[in-house]
C-alpha cells in the first residue's frame, strides 16, 4: 500500500526544495511502519495528511526560534484573517446560514443567467474565425424588410463582390432515409460544395464536400455525428456506405465532428448534400459569405449593392426592388434575443445588489455586537487599515463560500431550464445543448463573487473602522447610532425598496403584456388539432395528379378513424415555421401602386377552413367541384382584401399567382385573418387555392379530434402507413403546442422575471425588517427618554414608521425609473406590453408599502412596549 498520493504531491510542490527529500521520506517511512504495526490504512493516511499539512505550515511559517526567512508576513496575516472569519461564521450559525444562502442566491441566479446570455448573445459561433462570417439576406427595398431567401442563380454574381472571400448557400432539403426497418425523416440541407471549406471545419471521418464536388455530383452525402451514432451505431467503416435518401441511392463520404452544427439559427442539419447540376434553378436559398481579411461589413454591403443594382437593371421583371443586406452571422442570431437577455441580465444584477445589501445589513448588525471587540483591538494598536482589511476579508469569505453553493445551484437551475425548452429551440440555437457551467461562466462568477464580497463589505468595514471614536467615548457596545449610522440605514432601506420595486414592477408589466399576448386570437381554433407533415418524393410523386390522389386517399382514410371530426391538408399550416410567398397580379390594375405585390400562398383542401375553424366572411369555400381540371379559383383573407382590393367586392376580381403564364383565378370567397408565425405579428395577405389545382410536394395535415389530440398520434401514423407505407409522418404535434412554442421566449422571460420579482420581495422583506429592528433596538434609550418625557405609545409608533416613509418614497422613485427602463427594453420582446402601465406601478408600489409596514410592525410594537425604567437603568 502506498501513501496518499495527493498529500505526497502537495508536499513535493509546497515544501522548500532542501526539505522535500527528508520530510517525504520520513512521512513515507512512518506510514509504512504504521501499517506494519497493524493500523488500518485510513488511520495511517489520516496521520500522513495531518503531519504533511503541519510540515508545510511549520516549514514555511514561523517556529519558536529565530525567523527562518520563509513566509510572507502579509500573506500570513491574510490567512489569519480568513481563519478568523471562518471561526466567526462557525460561532454564529444563524448568521452564517442566512448570509451564505443570500449570497448563494445572488451569485447562483447571476451565473445561470450569464450562462444563458453567453449561449444566446456572446459565445462565438463554432466555426473558423466566426467574426468574418455573414448572412446575405434577401431584402425588399420597397418595404425595407427582410425576405430571408435570395435566388440560387444570384449566388455566383454575389460571390464576385471583392470584400467577400467566398459566398455559399443552403436550402432545406428534407430527406426520408429508407431501406431500413422504418423509413425515417431527416432534417437535411442542400449546400454549396464550398460551404464546409468556408466554415473551416473538416470532417471527423472521411471528407466534407469541397470545390472538387462539382454541382451535379448528386450521389454523395455528408452526415452529422448525431445521425452517425443514432442510426448507424457509430460504425467506423461508414464512409463509402450506400443509403437510400428520398428513394435515391447516395454514398456517405464523410461524418462531421460532434460539436459541428450547421446551419445556425435554423433547424440543425442531420445530413448535407450538394446542390444539383449547374444551370438547374434551385429556387431560393439562404446565402452566406466570408469577409476577406481586413474587410468590413460596410465595404461588403457597398459591393453587394452595386451587384444588386446591375441585376435589377438586367432583370427588371424579377429583381425590381430586390436588394441584399449583409449582416454578421452572430449578430443576426443575437438580435432577436437581445432585449430579453439584456433585461434579464439587468434584473439579476439588481437581484445581486439586493443580496449584497442584505448581507451588508447582516454584517452591520453583527458589527454592533462586535463593536466592543473592534474598539478593543483599535485601542491595543491595530491600525484602521488592518481592521478594514479584516472586515472585508470576512465579507469576501462569505461571498466565496456562498458563491460555491450558488454555482452548484446554478448548474441545477440550468439543467432544469434546458428541460423546459421546447424541441424547436433546442434544435435551432447553436450551442444550446452545452448550456451549463463552463470555464467562461466560472470566470465571470468568480469576478462577480469578488465584486459582491467587496460591495457587501464596504459599509460594515467603514463602520468598523469608526469604532475608534466610540472607544474613546467609552460608549462602545451600548446605545450607539450616530447620524452616520442612520444615514447608512436609510441608504440601505432606499436601495432595498428601489431594487425590489424595479424587479416586481417589471415582472408585473411582463405578466400583463404576456397575458395579453397569449390571449390573442390567432384567427383559428388551435385546440383539439393534431398536425403532421408528409413529404412526397419526386421518384413516385413527380406528377401533380399522383400527389393530389395521395392527399385524397389520406384524407379519406384518416377521416374514417373513430374520434376524428374532420381532416384537411395544406401546403403550410400556421405556426409550422414554414411559409411560402408568391408574387401576384390583379386584373383591373388595382396593384399598380404596389411595386412588388406579393401574398402568402396556401393550397388547401375543401375542408380546411372548417377543420381549422377559420371563419368564412364572404362568398364560398372550396368544394368538390374545385378539381384539377376545373375553373381556376382562389379565396383571399381580410388582410389581402384590405391591402390590394380597397373597398371593392372581392368576387369582382381575378388574381394571377407567380409568373406570366399562370392562369387568372377568380376570387370566390374571403376568410378571416390568421396569424401565421407568431401571436404578436399581424396577419399578412394570404391567397388560398384548391390543393387539387396545385398539389405541393410537402403536405401538412390537420386532424380535428374529439379528445386529446396526442391520443391520435398512433392511429394517424398507422392510417397513413396504410395509404403509403414508405412515407413517414414528421413534425407530429398538437397545434396548441406549436402556438405555445411560438411564444416560448416571452413565457420563459416572464417566468424568470416573476421568479426574480418574488425573490426580490422576500429579500427586501428580510432586509427592511432587519434594518428597522436594529434601528429600534439601538435607539432603546432614545425611546425610553421620549416615553419619560410624556410620549404616548402611538407617538412612538408614528415616530418609527414616520422614519421609514422618506426612504420608502425615495426607493419607489428610484425603482420606478429602473422599472421604466427595463420595461422599455422588454417592449421589443412583448410588443403588446405597456411599459408605463399605471395599474402595475400602483399595485407593486402598494405591495412595497405594505411590506415596509409589515416589516416595521414588530419593531414598532417592541418600541411601544419599551420598559422605560429598565432601559434607562441598563444604560
Amino acid at each position: 500500500m502506498t501513501p496518499p498520493p495527493v498529500a505526497r504531491a502537495l508536499l513535493a510542490r509546497l515544501l522548500p526544495q532542501e526539505l522535500r527529500e527528508p520530510v517525504i521520506g520520513d512521512l513515507d517511512e512512518l506510514f509504512a511502519r504504521r501499517l506494519a504495526a497493524g493500523w488500518p490504512r485510513r488511520r495511517a493516511a489520516a496521520e500522513y495528511w495531518r503531519l504533511a499539512c503541519r510540515s508545510v505550515a511549520d516549514a514555511t511559517g514561523r517556529d519558536d526560534g529565530a525567523p527562518a526567512g520563509a513566509g510572507d508576513p502579509t500573506m500570513m496575516s491574510i490567512a489569519e484573517d480568513v481563519r478568523y472569519a471562518l471561526r466567526l461564521l462557525g460561532h454564529s450559525p444563524a448568521f452564517a446560514l442566512s448570509a451564505l444562502l443570500t449570497m448563494a442566491l445572488g451569485i447562483g441566479v447571476t451565473t445561470a443567467v450569464f450562462s444563458l446570455a453567453d449561449v444566446l448573445l456572446f459565445r462565438p459561433l463554432p466555426y473558423h474565425e466566426p467574426g468574418r462570417l455573414v448572412f446575405l439576406l434577401g431584402w425588399d427595398t420597397a418595404r425595407d424588410e427582410m425576405r430571408f431567401n435570395v435566388p440560387y442563380r444570384d449566388v455566383p454574381a454575389l460571390g464576385a463582390a471583392a470584400p467577400l472571400d467566398e459566398v455559399a448557400a443552403y436550402q432545406y432539403w428534407n430527406a426520408t432515409l429508407s431501406g431500413r426497418d422504418v423509413p425515417e425523416r431527416m432534417q437535411g440541407y442542400k449546400v454549396s460544395a464550398s460551404t464546409f471549406d468556408m466554415l473551416g471545419v473538416p470532417a471527423a471521418l472521411g471528407r466534407a464536400f469541397s470545390e472538387a464536388d462539382r454541382p451535379g455530383d448528386s450521389g454523395v452525402v455528408v452526415i452529422s455525428d448525431a445521425l452517425w451514432r443514432r442510426v448507424f451505431g457509430a460504425d467506423p467503416g461508414i464512409v463509402g456506405r450506400r443509403v437510400l435518401l428520398n428513394d435515391e441511392p447516395r454514398v456517405i463520404v464523410g461524418v462531421m465532428p460532434r460539436p459541428f452544427e450547421f446551419p445556425v439559427f435554423n433547424f440543425k442539419g442531420d445530413l448535407w448534400v450538394p446542390f444539383g447540376p449547374a444551370g438547374i434553378d434551385e429556387g431560393s436559398v439562404v446565402a452566406l459569405g466570408r469577409l476577406a481579411p481586413g474587410r468590413t461589413i460596410a465595404e461588403a454591403q457597398a459591393a453587394v449593392d452595386g451587384i444588386s443594382a446591375r441585376l435589377a437593371e438586367a432583370l427588371p421583371d424579377t429583381h425590381r426592388n430586390r436588394g441584399v443586406r449583409v449582416r454578421e452571422m452572430r449578430e443576426l442570431g443575437a438580435a432577436e434575443a437581445r432585449p430579453a437577455v439584456v433585461a434579464l441580465l439587468v434584473a439579476v444584477g439588481l437581484l445581486l445588489l439586493l443580496a449584497c445589501a442584505n448581507i451588508a445589513e447582516l454584517l452591520l448588525a453583527r458589527g454592533v455586537v462586535r463593536q466592543h471587540e473592534l474598539a478593543t483591538r483599535l485601542a491595543l494598536g491595530a491600525g484602521r487599515a488592518r481592521i478594514v482589511r479584516q472586515l472585508l476579508t470576512e465579507s469576501l469569505v462569505v461571498a466565496v463560500l456562498g458563491s460555491a453553493l450558488g454555482i452548484v445551484a446554478a448548474g441545477w437551475a440550468l439543467d432544469a431550464l434546458r428541460a423546459m425548452l421546447p424541441e424547436a429551440v433546442l434544435s435551432t440555437l447553436p450551442g444550446i445543448g452545452a448550456l451549463g457551467i463552463d470555464a467562461r461562466t466560472l470566470g465571470v462568477a468568480t469576478a462577480v463573487t469578488v465584486a459582491a464580497g467587496l460591495l457587501a463589505g464596504v459599509a460594515p468595514a467603514w463602520r468598523g473602522a469608526r469604532s475608534q471614536a466610540l472607544a474613546r467615548l467609552g460608549a462602545a457596545g451600548r446605545s450607539a447610532g450616530g447620524r452616520g449610522d442612520s444615514r447608512v440605514r436609510a441608504a440601505l432601506i432606499v436601495s432595498e425598496i428601489a431594487l425590489s420595486f424595479a424587479l416586481l414592477t417589471t415582472a408585473g408589466l411582463l405578466l400583463q403584456g404576456v397575458g395579453r399576448l397569449l390571449a390573442t386570437d390567432p384567427g383559428f381554433r388551435p385546440d383539439h388539432l393534431l398536425t403532421f407533415s408528409v413529404a412526397l418524393p419526386d421518384t413516385r410523386y413527380d406528377a401533380p395528379g399522383a400527389r393530389g390522389a395521395f392527399v385524397d386517399q389520406a384524407l379519406e382514410r384518416l377521416g374514417a378513424l373513430p374520434g376524428v371530426v374532420s381532416v384537411a391538408a395544406v401546403n403550410t399550416l400556421p405556426f409550422s415555421t414554414y411559409n411560402q410567398g408568391i408574387g401576384i397580379a390583379l386584373d383591373g390594375g388595382l396593384t399598380d401602386h404596389e411595386d412588388a405585390p406579393a401574398a402568402n400562398l396556401r393550397t388547401a383542401t375543401p375542408g380546411y377552413f372548417e377543420t381549422l375553424g377559420i371563419p368564412l366572411t364572404g362568398g364560398r369555400t372550396f368544394g368538390a367541384t374545385d378539381q384539377a381540371g376545373g375553373e381556376p379559383v382562389a379565396i383571399v383573407n381580410g388582410a389581402f382584401a384590405r391591402r390590394y382590393l380597397g373597398g371593392d367586392a372581392p368576387d369582382r376580381h381575378r388574381v394571377r399567382l407567380g409568373g406570366g403564364d399562370a392562369p387568372w383565378r377568380r376570387i370566390v370567397g374571403t376568410v378571416g385573418d390568421v396569424r401565421h408565425d407568431s401571436l404578436d405579428q399581424p396577419a399578412e395577405p394570404e391567397v388560398y387555392v384548391p390543393l387539387a389545382q396545385a398539389p405541393p410536394r410537402q403536405v401538412m395535415f390537420a386532424v380535428r379530434t374529439m379528445g386529446d389530440p396526442e391520443d391520435f398520434t398512433f392511429p394517424v401514423r398507422r392510417g397513413l402507413a396504410e395509404v403509403d407505407g414508405a412515407l413517414p409522418a414528421f413534425h407530429v404535434r398538437p397545434m396548441a403546442d406549436a402556438v405555445r412554442v411560438s411564444a416560448v421566449a416571452q413565457v420563459l422571460t416572464l417566468r424568470l422575471m416573476t421568479g426574480f420579482g418574488v425573490l426580490a420581495l422576500l429579500l427586501a422583506a428580510f432586509g427592511v425588517h432587519a434594518v428597522i429592528s436594529q434601528a429600534v433596538s439601538q435607539r432603546g434609550r432614545e425611546m425610553a427618554v421620549r416615553v419619560a418625557l410624556g410620549a404616548s405609545p402611538a407617538d412612538l409608533a408614528r415616530h418609527v414608521l414616520g422614519g421609514a416613509i422618506g426612504p420608502l418614497l425615495a426607493g419607489l422613485v428610484l425603482g420606478g425609473a429602473a422599472a421604466a427602463g427595463l420595461g422599455a427594453l422588454l417592449g421589443g420582446l412583448v410588443p403588446g406590453m405597456d411599459p408605463s402601465d399605471p395599474a402595475t406601478f400602483g399595485l407593486s408600489g402598494a405591495v412595497l408599502a405594505a411590506l415596509v409596514l409589515v416589516a416595521a410592525a414588530g419593531p414598532t410594537w417592541r418600541a411601544m412596549r419599551t420598559d422605560t425604567a429598565a432601559t434607562l437603568k441598563a444604560e
Binding site: V23, G25, D26, L27, R54, S55, D64, A68
Partner: protein, 108 residues
Amino acid sequence: MRGSLGEFEQLLLLALLGLGTEAYGVTLRDDIERRTGRGPSPGAIYTALDRLERRGFVRSRLGDPTPERGGKRKRYYALLPAGEQAVRASQERLRRMSHGLSPKADLP
C-alpha cells in the same frame, strides 16, 4: 542573546545526544514524542535542524534510499561539540534561573 536556543532546539539537541549515530527525522520524532508526549512534524524538525546546522551545532550526511521511504534517502544528523556546549549552557542557565523558585520548577 548569542548562542541562545529555543525550547524546541534544545529538545532536538538533547535527543541527538541520546541517539548517537542513528539520529534522523523518524527516530528523533519518536524519541521526543516518547519523552515529552509531543510529536513534532517532520517539517518542523528539519527546518530547525537546518538552522542548527547553519549555526555550526550539528552536521548532517545523506544515507541510502530505502523502499519503505519511497526511494527517498535518510538525512542523518550528529551533534557537534559546539552544539553540545550550547545545549549544556542553555540547560545551566535555565537551572540557575529556576533554582529555589518552587520544587516543581527545580530541574534535576
